[in-house]
Symmetry: C2
Subunit: 310 residues, 2 copies
């Protein structure tokens, strides 16, 4: 592969340009906001670097597409990917970020933040004993980079962490990895479910009524993709106490529409897709590393397997 001309498309294109120029990479760059990308840019480019584009481009013309995000459903889900075009994705501090996000909401729950807040409002002194992390069981869907880092951090704090994956292959930091399908009868054992799954044809609406019915009063955290969840079934599961509370960072439609009933649900916490942010710094780091590895013909650990969709 011979990469000379690179188009970078992002709302943060100026910041990325500044950071990239400091690296003194001897390639030709065009840094653009999405609305200014033309077909001439694509014809010129060997590589296309993009964050969250709204349009689909004709990637046949380039050799390599690099996603500035971790998820690549934007490029692959229900789409045809041109054969022979390399697709890579950003892997950086996502695992650490998502682990801390999840941990913060688990601790909020077991340390009774809500309960003490309500008691304080009533000036009521009523001791409740917080639960400990080492008394908690968590099931993480997805045992890739993000799921694994989350498992590492939670298990280091004494949490029993179970994983669910397509293969069921053992991974470090998980007490046990369960093959998807075999996981349903294990769902009633856990206190928290964390979804880190990408959106693919196999994961779309994976969390449906049937899955939720196996849960009993759990905290459900979605940091994967919104469309992996059947939203109606989620609301029903909250109603039936299969789910005690849901922390949702991702949604089928983002920004979450104003008329969504999730906004006002007392047991739903909404955050605006911030659990795994790519900072411009990290995005540039990961892109440059990938470029170096491509040129050195080294293996790429962030190469997307098109058939799997992640």
């Amino acid at each position: 592969m011979n990469i000379n001309n690179i188009v970078v498309v992002s709302p943060m294109y100026q910041e990325i340009q500044t950071l990239m120029e400091k690296r003194e990479i001897t390639k030709n760059f065009r840094f653009l906001p999405e609305e200014r990308v033309t077909s001439a840019d694509l014809a010129w480019a060997d590589a296309f670097v993009a964050f969250n584009t709204k349009k689909d481009y004709d990637y046949c013309q380039v050799q390599w597409v690099h996603s500035l995000g971790a998820g690549v459903d934007r490029f692959l889900f229900k789409k045809q990917w041109p054969e022979g075009v390399l697709l890579t994705r950003t892997i950086c501090s996502f695992g650490q970020r998502i682990a801390e996000y999840c941990l913060s909401y688990i601790l909020k729950d077991i340390q009774f933040h809500n309960e003490f807040n309500e008691l304080q409002a009533k000036k009521t002194w009523k001791p409740l004993t917080p639960k400990l992390l080492n008394e908690q069981k968590v099931m993480i869907f997805g045992t890739g980079e993000i799921g694994q880092k989350t498992a590492e951090i939670l298990s280091s704090l004494g949490v029993d962490v179970f994983g669910v994956s397509l293969s069921g292959k053992d991974k470090e930091h998980f007490k046990e990895v369960i093959t998807i399908g075999a996981h349903e009868e294990r769902l009633n054992e856990v206190n928290y479910v964390i979804n880190t799954l990408p959106l693919t044809e196999k994961t779309e609406a994976l969390f449906d009524e049937k899955v939720f019915n196996h849960l009993s009063n759990v905290g459900f955290i979605n940091v994967g993709r919104g469309a992996t969840i059947d939203e109606k079934a989620l609301l029903q599961a909250l109603e039936n106490k299969h789910i005690k509370f849901a922390v949702l960072d991702v949604f089928t439609v983002e920004p979450l529409p104003k008329d969504s009933s999730l906004w006002e649900h007392p047991s739903v916490i909404i955050t605006p897709h911030i659990s795994a942010v790519t900072t411009p710094d990290e995005g540039v780091d990961c892109f440059v590393d990938t470029l170096m590895n491509i040129e050195a013909k080294k293996p790429l650990r962030n190469k997307v397997e098109i058939s799997k969709g992640f």
Copy 2:
């Protein structure tokens, strides 16, 4: 020391009795609520095991007093301790408990729980990038069992942890331990201050206007003792933004009186002395261990140094 007759005084005396009887210890026990303790009980006892008594007893008559809590200011602060009477205290999962308590409030802050809660109430999708633990600096006052366990857990998550102690002696898990007195000029470096100090003549009102004036927009967490803080100075420091928010689990007077202005302060979180709870199970475990160690003439790591007050 010859321990045969043991008086156990606690609001949870019945639970403790049930647990103790399972241990089949061949000693004579009297399990009592405080209001039923008589001078005859004290005259009979070799050992006095107590949790949070309101009255002072004449401990001259016993050989050993064991506190079912970690703090022993109840027995020592501004009091005369009878020479030759052994005082021990409970050490159990306090460190883990307090570490998780503190971590929950640090994560609440850097993950913007309040901000996202307010945005959700307005149905507003506005991304904010959470801060990471490895960008935070914490200063822990007290480098004993509790401070050290808190340092261990926070530093394992990437936090820079500084300690403050009387001796300034290096301790594992702290990046640096600073001698009290020399710490003031370092206070402006940190994002969070955690107080785990016991109440002694040296720590009473240690956190005063002068100390608070060195802080800049920090989160202040008190899990030590309420009287180590000058409460008026704390309110002033919240006013002047030296302190961004305070999480208080301990107070000079507990339960916190209804007329305290802390209850309604928007930047104060009040919890009812629950960050380090002794469960009956753990209390009995620690007592039995201590008894065994005394009888085997082994060193006691939970022996209180009367002159130090902890």
